[in-house]
């Protein structure tokens, strides 16, 4: 029993170490690449950005809209007791900007983009394509990981801003059509109580989540073993690991931002 627990801890430590070394290699290529004329081609990064960002708009739209509606209804249920219905507006906007916008969007992107990265790189690994890159003196980290990493780190915060706006619009629908609040006052209240900090902490979170999603997806993909079954396994474990780590980092970052203000 103790042996097994020890084994699990050792293998978790090894994975963490190897994942961090992948992250450091990625950062190395981003920092050094431009000087060695070895930066990824803009077209490659651009197509990854379209895939990770633009193609995620529809799913992010629906998740954010319904989340906004739900927070509005749930908070109205409490606030209406005090006759403070108008406070639904800042409740929705701040809740989305600080927490739900970044986390829910990242979870959706982890399921859509992270899984796709793991599956694509995993298939490339088991069909010798990664090895082919290496024999052509093309570093797989530079060629495959860096564009995906950059694309997600740029696009996920953008998606989060989009989600925040759509979520506020969802709350607005409930506020205006169900709670009969004045639309102009609803909008004013939405932004009156919002601080810059609420927005940028949310964006910092989403950038960290983007790193988590791209690193886990690439790591799982590049370490795939054993054919189609292996690709399935690494796709699953990339989604599961990303989910856990997103929530974990959310907790850590929220803690940092919460205690830092004092």
């Amino acid at each position: 029993m103790i042996e097994r627990i020890g084994g699990i801890i050792i293998s978790a430590g090894r994975h963490t170490y190897r994942m961090l070394s992948l992250l450091s290699q990625t950062c190395f290529w981003i920092a050094v690449g431009p000087f060695k004329r070895k930066f990824p081609k803009p077209e490659g990064v651009f197509s990854q950005m379209v895939f990770a960002g633009v193609d995620s708009l529809i799913i992010a739209f629906f998740v954010a809209l319904f989340t906004g509606i739900v927070i509005a209804m749930q908070s109205a249920y409490q606030l209406s007791r005090f006759g403070a219905n108008i406070y639904v507006a800042p409740m929705v906007s701040i809740g989305l900007a600080r927490e739900l916008g970044p986390v829910l969007t990242s979870l959706v992107v982890a399921g859509r983009v992270g899984a796709a990265i793991a599956a694509e790189l995993g298939t490339m690994k088991v069909t010798e394509q990664i090895e082919a890159l290496e024999t052509m003196a093309l570093n797989p980290v530079r060629f495959l990981v860096v564009p995906r990493f950059l694309a997600l780190v740029v696009m996920l915060p953008c998606l989060v801003v989009f989600s925040d706006i759509i979520g506020i619009f969802g709350g607005f629908l409930v506020g205006v059509f169900n709670l009969h609040l004045n639309p102009y006052r609803y909008i004013t209240f939405s932004f009156q109580f919002m601080l810059w900090k609420d927005v940028w902490t949310g964006l910092v979170k989403s950038a960290v989540f983007a790193m988590v999603i791209s690193m886990i997806g690439c790591y799982m993909g590049l370490n795939t073993k054993g054919g189609a079954e292996g690709v399935g396994k690494s796709t699953t474990s990339s989604v599961v690991t990303s989910f856990i780590l997103i929530i974990l980092f959310d907790c850590i970052l929220t803690g940092i931002f919460y205690f830092a203000k004092q």
Partner: protein
């Protein structure tokens, strides 16, 4: 031919995966311009040996020299410089399936050279012409047959005009005509462009049509090395059995270690 310009040298290369010894002290030399064939049964370590020769796997002990350089002592940049001078033709072709045929062949040129786009396009046409697939630039790998994929993989491998070509089972799983075409291509490349070739195969027909020298691998060791004629006349019973493809002989087909009856009665 044998001016002794050694471009590939393996010294006592040993490799084990866990308990299994895959390579057991292999030494060999390949000279410039010759076609060196490594043959042996499935699982005898020939693909592993090939991966050691291109530096994709580090040996547990022993040394590999490629173009005069000790692979273990090179840093990443030096290794990349060596890798640009070699080409590898994979068993599964290993084409990038998100790219068209043209993009696959032009990838090393686009990444490693500063050539103009129209020059690269011309080179791609020339390489595809060599493998008989000019005009297929716009197709995706998934639209090609197995033989065509292999030929595109070959075109991609020679895109950078390598000094040494490595082939991992180039004719496995192909019909006899395509296999013959691939053999002829390998011969053409090595005779016309004087490219050194290392071919891993267990296809006896292609061994004797392309090889200048042959090494037979068995259980991680080089059983016999020599010209095809010498190998044909070899007295070694294992080599004789392999060439004739006879099921009876010193090379055992059965991999089981325990007693059959005992296992059944358990």
């Amino acid at each position: 031919m044998m001016e002794k310009d050694v471009v590939i040298k393996a010294e006592n290369v040993t490799k084990r995966f866990g308990e299994r010894v895959i390579l057991n002290g292999i030494s060999l030399e390949v000279c410039r311009g010759e076609t060196f064939v490594i043959m042996g049964g499935s699982g005898c370590g020939k693909s592993t040996l090939l991966r050691h020769l291109i530096g994709a796997l580090p040996p547990d002990s022993g040394k590999v020299y490629l173009l005069g350089k000790d692979l273990a002592s090179l840093n990443e940049d030096e290794m990349d410089r060596v890798k640009k001078k070699i080409g590898m033709c994979f068993q599964s072709a290993a084409l990038f399936d998100s790219m068209t045929v043209g993009e696959n062949v032009s990838l090393p040129l686009r990444e490693h050279t500063r050539l103009e786009t129209h020059v690269i396009e011309t080179v791609v046409k020339m390489k595809l012409e060599l493998v008989g697939l000019r005009g297929f630039e716009g197709l995706m790998p998934s639209q090609l047959s197995g033989g065509m994929r292999k030929r595109v993989g070959l075109a991609r491998a020679i895109a950078m005009d390598p000094e040494i070509m490595f082939y991992d089972e180039p004719t496995a799983g192909l019909d006899p005509i395509v296999a013959g075409v691939i053999d002829k291509l390998i011969l053409d490349l090595s005779k016309k462009l004087s490219i050194t070739s290392v071919v891993v195969t267990h296809d006896m027909k292609s061994v004797f049509s392309i090889a200048d020298r042959v090494a037979m691998l068995y259980e991680g060791k080089a059983l016999a090395v020599g010209a095809p004629d010498e190998i044909k006349k070899s007295e070694n019973p294992m080599v004789r059995q392999f060439i004739s493809g006879s099921p009876d002989g010193p090379i055992r087909f059965f991999q089981q270690k325990d007693d059959y009856l005992e296992h059944l009665m358990k």
